[in-house]
């Protein structure tokens, strides 16, 4: 194995849901217009006592359970997020401590807007592939914040996905990857400021589409793979429209994209978006499947991955199904709250 593979994975989605229609009504907008343009019906809202640490621990615990890997064998923990609880004090060591990882590991936090989680996977690919470490945990997590009444408010949500990576008999092997980066200030948050700002429509063509298609083409050139040979694709989901558009431009069919589209029901959990899309796809994948995944982080950059699913995925899927931990189970495990409660739970009031 040249790089590394996914041995097991865990996901976490907070149970609370806020309907996009309720947000629209709070601001006197027509719900149908918003839902129509975004393709998002509801989003996940964290509990008052949830944050990126607690969601990362939940997903990480699930990734470590039934994995056959003991906690103290983990030699790297990378947590990517835009909502690390501290500006200085790593989420990775708090999560590592609460997961019982011990002390003999490399820990660091990552930031690159919504693609901070996928960066962790590439770093692990390097460390594991060069045989410097045996096992590592890459986590993407966010309790995304957005200004009230801002267009981001409709979709910015919460979630986490943790990937236990190693070599040997893996459930999904990383065949190759490519990254595409540039200085594109489409969306940013200054230090000390609570909510991000964005440049409106600039976040579309020059940002999302340029980088997603840029990374995808780099990887396709590298691997000589064509969309027809790929089983499923996953793209970062700021809304439902962008990934569908990206898939089409790159030659994928709607059916190839479908299993990953969690955004309609949980919104955009930023650093967990493409990773949850990947988990949802893996939850239903068959041995031999090829999965093409491209993340996007504002600022801007995209990481593209080509995964091959192995027969070991069956054991992973069975355990997740048995314990009701599949992405679909977590999407369905929900209760609705109103706009006022959302404001309370996200500490705005």
């Amino acid at each position: 194995m040249k790089f590394a593979g996914i041995i097991n994975y865990g996901t976490a989605i907070p149970r609370y849901r806020l309907k996009v229609a309720d947000i629209a009504r709070a601001w006197g907008k027509n719900p149908d217009d918003i839902i129509g343009s975004l393709g998002v019906r509801e989003k996940s809202v964290p509990g008052t006592d949830e944050d990126s640490v607690t969601l990362a621990v939940e997903a990480g615990f699930s990734a470590l359970s039934n994995s056959g890997v003991s906690r103290t064998e983990i030699e790297a923990v990378f947590v990517g997020s835009e909502s690390h609880p501290y500006a200085v004090n790593p989420t990775a060591t708090i999560v590592g401590g609460l997961l019982g990882i011990g002390t003999n590991y490399l820990a660091t936090d990552l930031e690159f807007a919504c693609k901070a989680g996928t960066v962790g996977m590439q770093l692990l690919a390097g460390l594991i592939g060069s045989k410097q470490i045996k096992y590592g945990l890459a986590i993407g997590v966010d309790t995304a914040q957005s200004k009230t009444h801002d267009s981001l408010e409709y979709a910015s949500s919460s979630g986490s996905a943790a990937y236990l990576m190693g070599s040997g008999s893996v459930a999904a092997e990383l065949l190759d990857y490519a990254s595409f980066s540039s200085d594109t200030p489409d969306f940013w948050r200054r230090d000390g400021v609570s909510y991000p700002s964005h440049a409106g429509r600039f976040t579309g063509e020059p940002a999302y589409f340029a980088h997603v298609t840029g990374a995808a083409k780099l990887l396709m050139d590298k691997t000589k793979i064509i969309p027809e040979k790929i089983t499923n694709c996953v793209f970062h989901m700021p809304n439902a429209k962008f990934p569908k558009d990206a898939a089409k431009r790159l030659g994928f069919t709607p059916e190839q994209l479908k299993p990953s589209l969690v955004v309609g029901e949980i919104g955009n959990p930023y650093s967990a978006s493409s990773l949850l899309g990947l988990a949802a796809t893996l939850d239903q994948a068959k041995p031999g499947d090829l999965i093409f995944m491209v993340s996007f982080g504002s600022g801007a950059g995209s990481d593209a991955f080509l995964w091959k699913v192995n027969k070991e995925i069956i054991f992973v899927q069975e355990a997740r199904k048995k314990n009701k931990l599949r992405v679909q189970d977590q999407i369905k495990n929900k209760f609705y709250i109103d706009y006022t409660r959302y404001l309370r739970q996200t500490h705005k009031i």
Partner: protein
């Protein structure tokens, strides 16, 4: 300020509790919270007997009303506990949620 050293000592034992299953023995619903818990109030606090025989007292998260009954199966999770000061260390602790 919540004491970072106490938080550090307190968090050391938590890894072993996460994921443990248990059952509610008795509970209450706190409507007049102590200082630092106002943002979470009102909330249930339950006595839970874990599978390994230990009994713990913990706040219950992600519940609906009919989860509040003796015998209800729960699982131990990590959540924020007391509200931190704006420049203080954040306290994480064991809570339970319906399993």
């Amino acid at each position: 300020m919540t004491n970072p050293v106490k938080i550090w000592r307190g968090q050391k034992g938590m890894a072993n509790l996460i994921g443990q299953k248990g059952k509610i023995i008795s509970w209450t619903f706190i409507r007049v919270p102590p200082a630092g818990f106002e943002s979470q109030a009102p909330y249930p606090v339950a006595l839970v007997k874990l599978e390994d025989g230990k009994t713990i007292i913990a706040q219950m998260a992600d519940y609906i009303e009919k989860d509040l009954r003796p015998g209800r199966k729960v699982v131990a999770i990590i959540r924020r506990t007391i509200q931190p000061e704006s420049d203080g260390v954040i306290s994480y602790g064991i809570k339970v949620r319906p399993a």
